[in-house]
Amino acid sequence: MSASNLHGLVAYYADVDSLLAAVRRVREAGYQRFDAHSPFPVHGIDPVMGIRPTVLPWLVLGAGLTGCAGALLMQWWTNGHDYAFLISGKPLFGLPAAIPVTFELIILLSAFMTFFGMLALNTLPLLSNPLLRTAGFGRVTADRFAISIEAADACFESHATRELLAGTGALSVEACESDESSAVVPKWIKQLTMIGAAIALIPPALIAMERYGTRTTPRIHVITDMDFQSKAKAQSASLLFEDGRAMRRPVEGTLAVGEWIEDEYRATGKVAGQLGTGFPYEIDRAVMERGRQRFDIYCGVCHGLDGLGRGPIAVRAESLEESAWVPPTNLHDERLLTVPEGHLFEVITNGVRNMPAYAAQLSVDDRWAVVAYLRALQRSRNASIEDVPTDQQRNFK
């Protein structure tokens, strides 16, 4: 055997005491790249071998602290800062509520660091070790103790090292050859891996098709998120109440906080039961802007942003040639220019003929704001140049 393919030497011992004595001798002789092997953990062997206490605990502590800081930061950022969302009146970022996630993340990162750190510090996984190919080494998992010295050690010298080991009371000393077999992964493993990977792609592909493709039947719901909840929804029936309705009316004679409006005209658009004119409160620019915004959201879809009755829904309905479709009224209609403001308020509140009511979407004051904007819109079609501020008049020449 030439020295070049010698991996090292292995010496075998019968018991722990001779192993420890031998380890001492080997270390005193100046060897560094050696290892001791035993069927069970040997207490106190680390200092004898010169193995220093592991840094792993510090790494784990660091991972734990990272988990702690990361979890707190993440929860503060998501709940308290980036997307502030009030949940049952709790503080946006409440420490007690953040503790469970923090705790879990500390544990998770610490556990990962313990496990993977242990592997990394031990340079594992190690797929092959030349020692495993030596004849006597198998007994180290049963009833033998061993010391292996690597040929790569600076002090290693085939003969002298063998003498040293033999002199430590070893039962036998065995040479361990380097593993010269090719380290290239065999072709069939590569091929199998590729086939396996291709097969593994099928389920996610099927799932993606199922989830993102268009289809005519209801989708398979694997993860239902919160799509199906056993809760009462608006307009649904409920066995819980005598009248069978899930939606409850307020107790008779009661109003929700802030719902009560003293002024009859402001609340109903009527004075002593008759539709009234004018506005119940002062209309300023802010109200007008609010009105424009609400109008564009809630009215424009049908009546069009300009009020001419050609909103996107109307256009689409016409293109479908829906026979039952009643076109939205042109809001610049002669009649509507002169109806009292109360009438417009009333139309929004309760709907009219084929137009639905918007009381649920628009608060009382928003309705007035829409009325005000509607008036401005109508005026814009019948305005004279004098209505334009003087400094902007030349834009219309």
Binding site: V16, D17, P41, A97, I99
Partner: protein, 408 residues
Amino acid sequence: MSAHHHVSAPERTRVTPSGLAGRGRLATLFGAALCVLAVVLGFVQEEGMARLQHGWLLAVTFFVTLGLGGLFFVLVQYLVRAGWSVVVRRLAEHLAGSLPLMGLLLLPVVIPTLFGNGQLYHWADPHELAESHLLQEKAPYLNGWFLLVRVAIYVGVWTLLVRAFNRRSLAQDDTGDPSMTIWMQKRAAPSVLAFALTLTFFAFDMLMSLSYEWFSTIFGVYVFAGSAVALFATLVLLALRFEGRGELRGIVTTEHYHDLGKLLFAFVFFWGYIAFSQFMLIWYGDIPEETVWFQQRWVGSWKYVSLLLLFGHFLLPFVGLLSRHVKRNRSLLASWAVLLLLMHLVDLYWLIMPTLSPEGASIGLIDFACLSGVGGLFLGGLWRRIDGKPLVPLRDPRLGESLAFQNL
């Protein structure tokens, strides 16, 4: 090295403390005198009777939980067939041995409820009963006679368990009969079940019912966690005491302290975990009938007691006991043990006293008298039980394993 050093177990471990009986008698006398003093103070001081009952409950539950901790330790060693712990198990057995007497000392707070005295347990007050619909609904459970029966059952079960285990352990010292160990291992599982149930309901009855409108299902676990912390702290201190006296020198080693330290650390965290679980669910639910209990412990100076617990019973010892070097250092470990034992007292104080002085924490002479009085009786019993008996279960089949025990 361990497995190969055969230790001649019996000779080295034949240690029998002596000279403790006299000291025990002294402690008992001293304790009894202080108990009498506490009662006298209770009669003369203004509002003394209410204080006396609260102080007495605090003192007795403190030592009962120590005993329960000891019983828990003994049972679990047999349950999991532990080897490392044999050298300290006898100490835990002696601690558990205090349960019959300490259980009996619960009577002074149970009996007044029979006569409609609601100074400690408001539910026992007939006026309260007449006015509270909730209490009327709970009355079939919360009434003096049924409480008496239940406490008798708890103390009865503890006494039976203590006798069953301690006797066999001691008998084994003479006979060396391993079937004793096997007998106890077989009984350990059902015994732990009985232990858990009695401890839980003991905590409900004696501590939780102080605020009878309030309820928390985790409460028993909370009290258990505190008891375990107190037990491991006490075990460390007792082992050090007898190492100092010489009996356990060379028997209880750094390795055993390391393990006791690990368990102390683990239960410190367990206590914090349970305490927080209880707190967070109540905080999150935000239901007045539940939050009121924590609200009461956040009023005035109670707030500082609550914070003291958070830091002293949980955060500081958690950090302090984290390192293995601390657990292997006798004096550091002892300092944390003393602190945690104190904190266990504060914990019980925090559970019991807010019903006495809702406006803020207060301490009276009576509290000290009760604590040292019951403490004297406890110590007296403990020393006398230890005296003249082998301090190490010298023929336990796992003693060799325990003596040679090493942490990796």
